[in-house]
């Protein structure tokens, strides 16, 4: 199969753009969320950052300057060294994701949030509540 550099270039750029958008929403999330859940989100964000770095190093492994995908230009010494770094970054990234997810679970278990309802849900509930009580009142009569 032919290598299309444009494909890798455009998708690689999108990955970093989406990453920064993720950081942006995480930043906004930190404003509305309080307590331990923020810490869990921070661990996960660190994990995502490390995964992004691993992705970037992977690029150097298979393309310039490692060129593992192009044997005629390959610099395997460089590609092999980078592969070790990629594995370390991937491991650390997934460890942070695991810690973040575990923290989120433990926090949610320790402090179960009271049920929150949207306005429409609340009005529906109130409506059904009043109906039930009206029916009960009629039965008693």
């Amino acid at each position: 199969m032919e290598i299309v550099p444009l494909f890798f270039g455009i998708l690689g750029s999108f990955i970093t753009i989406i990453f920064f958008a993720t950081v942006w929403y995480w930043m906004k999330y930190n404003e509305v969320e309080n307590g331990e859940m923020r810490k869990a989100a921070k661990w996960k964000m660190t994990g995502y950052s490390l995964l992004l770095m691993a992705t970037w190093f992977m690029c150097g492994m298979v393309a310039y300057p490692g060129y593992a995908l192009r044997p005629e230009k390959a610099n395997y010494e460089f590609a092999i060294t980078i592969s070790y770094i990629v594995m370390i970054l991937l491991l650390l990234g997934f460890i942070f994701l695991f810690l973040g997810q575990r923290k989120a679970y433990l926090t949610a278990r320790a402090n179960p949030n009271p049920k929150t309802f949207t306005l429409s849900q609340t009005s529906t509930q109130l409506h059904s509540y009043s109906l039930t009580h009206t029916q009960r009142a009629h039965t008693q009569c």
């Binding site: 444009l6 270039g9 970093t16 990453f19 950081v23 930043m27 930190n30 770095m53």
Partner: protein
């Protein structure tokens, strides 16, 4: 103080994004739109001006990521503005040192410095 944290955080975040845009997205756009795809990415004028274009290119994304995430932490008042800025600067310093060691093929030192940078980044 709250407004200050917001503004400083946004500035640090923006510097991270601009850093990546200047050193990563612009060279990519140049390679595929202006120049020919077969040309080397590091021959982009801004990167070519660097003593080590490859290290500069790699640094850009790491430093950009670190600044964006630390900027977000300052914005959300997760750290005090001053300590947030110091941690960001230290983290960036260790990343740059790590990349320089990598350039000079001192891989062990490079890895140690990079782990230090990650540690400061995650604090």
């Amino acid at each position: 103080m709250y407004m200050d944290a917001h503004r400083v955080g946004l500035v640090v975040f923006a510097v991270g994004v601009i850093d990546v845009a200047l050193m990563v997205w612009m060279p990519l756009a140049w390679k595929y739109l202006v120049s020919s795809p077969s040309s080397e990415l590091v021959s982009f004028p801004l990167l070519a001006a660097s003593p080590n274009p490859l290290a500069t290119w790699l640094q850009s994304v790491f430093v950009g990521v670190i600044l964006a995430v630390r900027g977000a932490l300052i914005y959300a008042k997760r750290t005090r503005v001053a300590s947030g800025l110091v941690l960001s600067a230290l983290s960036v310093f260790f990343t740059l040192s790590s990349m320089l060691s990598f350039t000079f093929q001192n891989y062990t030192l490079s890895l140690i410095l990079f782990l230090l940078a990650i540690l400061l980044f995650a604090v």
